[in-house]
């Protein structure tokens, strides 16, 4: 049995039974899953977790799904890599990369969808749906296929071909909406109200977002059961960011780690940085913006968890940082060239943000720091195409030597 007690409004505290409901009837605030932590504490231990599967489901005691019901695609328990090369460049002596780009559909979204789709099955929905710009669509489509559900993914029709393909291949119904993001939003919220479909990021959202906590649990376990001193997390709606903080605090409250002293830093791209703006202006009220950024996976202008993200920053002593648009690709290259990890634009934002935080001293050289890399570079190839430049040659030995020398000279000249 799962340890979930109720759903609770994050604004007014009203409690609700565990049902596919996502807003409070009184104040229209968002609902959150509430656990019976005494029951969790009776069962959970480091040993029990260590004996579990090498996936996110080793933490099922803290997830809102019965273990037997889990829709398991072997998501999670992704590598935590010591990043000595990148660390040396940035002046950070204890830098780690949580490489979550190697999940079944190549982003951290498999964690949230894994929980949401299991819950949708439990609630006996036969249709799984989402509104997405790519990563979520791919994950929902794959999980829908595995679950044998009818799957519908909605996106604005000007989306990149690669992302449409990455969802369509799983047999989902692709709905390309001739309209702006706002209009897709509007359509999906109306559909969620009027059809019995499980929209993972609408009516399944309270359960869905819990999946992100496993990114905190794994890092703590992989560090030998302790919280990092600082983390850098990419932010769109702010859900991932706030849930990592929730996860760390749960581990502390259950005495699985000693302290949750982590400074939480959120990174956004400059062209869509409403949370950073609110942080800079020292207000918890996040003003919606119209996104204009290369980091499409982070292009949420009106972040649902913006307010809670600012609270997380305050409570943890962290900060919010904006990566300049022209440094996003640089961040991607930097990580690839130092650590051999190819991330998408969201990861470029994290690395560029990390560099700023290290420079400004908000992250100190000896801080045990974890940068969360949440998506795979193969999904946003367009943005890096201009920086990839092969040497062209005939198969003749002499030609190769000549062309190679020409390349060296050109590179030398550009560095001089």
């Amino acid at each position: 049995m799962s340890n979930v007690k109720s759903l609770r409004c994050r604004e007014c505290g009203s409690e609700y039974p565990v049902e596919p409901q996502y807003v409070c009837d009184f104040c229209f605030g968002p609902l959150e899953v509430c656990y019976d932590y005494d029951a969790v504490a009776r069962d959970i231990s480091r040993e029990r977790i260590t004996k579990g599967p090498l996936t996110m489901w080793r933490y099922h005691d803290l997830l809102p799904v019965d273990a037997e019901m889990a829709l398991d695609m072997q998501t999670g328990f992704t590598p935590l890599v010591r990043a000595k090369n990148l660390g040396r460049l940035l002046g950070l002596n204890n830098l780690y990369i949580k490489n979550d780009s190697v999940n079944p559909t190549f982003s951290f979204k498999d964690r949230v969808v894994s929980v949401a789709s299991a819950k949708a099955l439990e609630f006996e929905f036969d249709t799984l749906a989402c509104a997405s710009t790519g990563n979520l669509a791919g994950s929902v489509s794959a999980h829908g296929a595995k679950a044998g559900m009818n799957t519908m993914v909605f996106f604005p029709s000007d989306l990149e071909r690669g992302k449409i393909l990455g969802a369509g291949i799983y047999g989902a119904t692709l709905v390309a909406v001739d309209g702006t993001y706002d209009q897709v939003n509007r359509l999906c919220s109306e559909l969620a109200d009027n059809h019995r479909w499980a929209f993972v990021n609408i009516n399944m959202r309270p359960f869905y977002s819990e999946g992100s906590k496993t990114l905190a649990y794994e890092v703590a376990e992989q560090l030998g059961w302790r919280a990092p001193d600082a983390v850098v997390v990419p932010g769109a709606s702010g859900s991932l960011f706030t849930k990592i903080w929730k996860g760390l605090n749960e581990l502390k409250d259950l005495s699985l780690i000693e302290t949750a002293h982590t400074k939480m830093h959120i990174a956004q791209a400059e062209g869509c940085s409403p949370i950073v703006t609110a942080y800079d202006e020292d207000t918890p009220h996040v003003r919606p913006v119209t996104p204009d950024t290369i980091a499409k996976s982070l292009a949420i202008g009106n972040p649902a968890d913006g307010f809670y993200s600012i609270k997380t920053i305050e409570n943890s002593g962290g900060s919010a940082v904006a990566a300049p648009e022209e440094e996003v690709v640089e961040g991607i290259q930097l990580l690839a060239e130092t650590e051999g990890i190819f991330t998408e634009t969201a990861g470029g934002v994290v690395i560029s943000g990390l560099r700023k935080l290290a420079k400004s001293g908000k992250i100190q050289p000896d801080d045990l720091t974890v940068a969360y890399i949440t998506g795979n570079g193969l999904k946003t190839q367009e943005v890096v195409e201009p920086v990839v430049d092969p040497v062209f040659t005939t198969p003749a030995y002499e030609d190769f030597m000549t062309n190679m020398a020409a390349r060296k000279e050109r590179n030398g000249a550009s560095h001089g």
Binding site: F28, F199, I202, H285, P288, I300, G375
Partner: protein, 84 residues
Amino acid sequence: MVRVMARRRVRFTFPEQLITEPLIYNLGRKFEIVTNIRRANVQERVGWVVLELEGDEDEIERGLEWMIAAGVRVDPITGDLIEG
């Protein structure tokens, strides 16, 4: 004519220059819409109100278009749903 009564939950975000305008009051007067405020926050630079609108489906649409034309941002109460 068949009247389709509807309820719509929305968030209005007011830019600085509109915070002091009685826009919600006018929305209820100009259109046949009942406005029911659930949560709000108004500060110097920005204000938002979460509310439920009740009325004829088309009338709500017209009312929301009027609010948008006045310079108010109208969003579903969930915030943006689109995810990367």
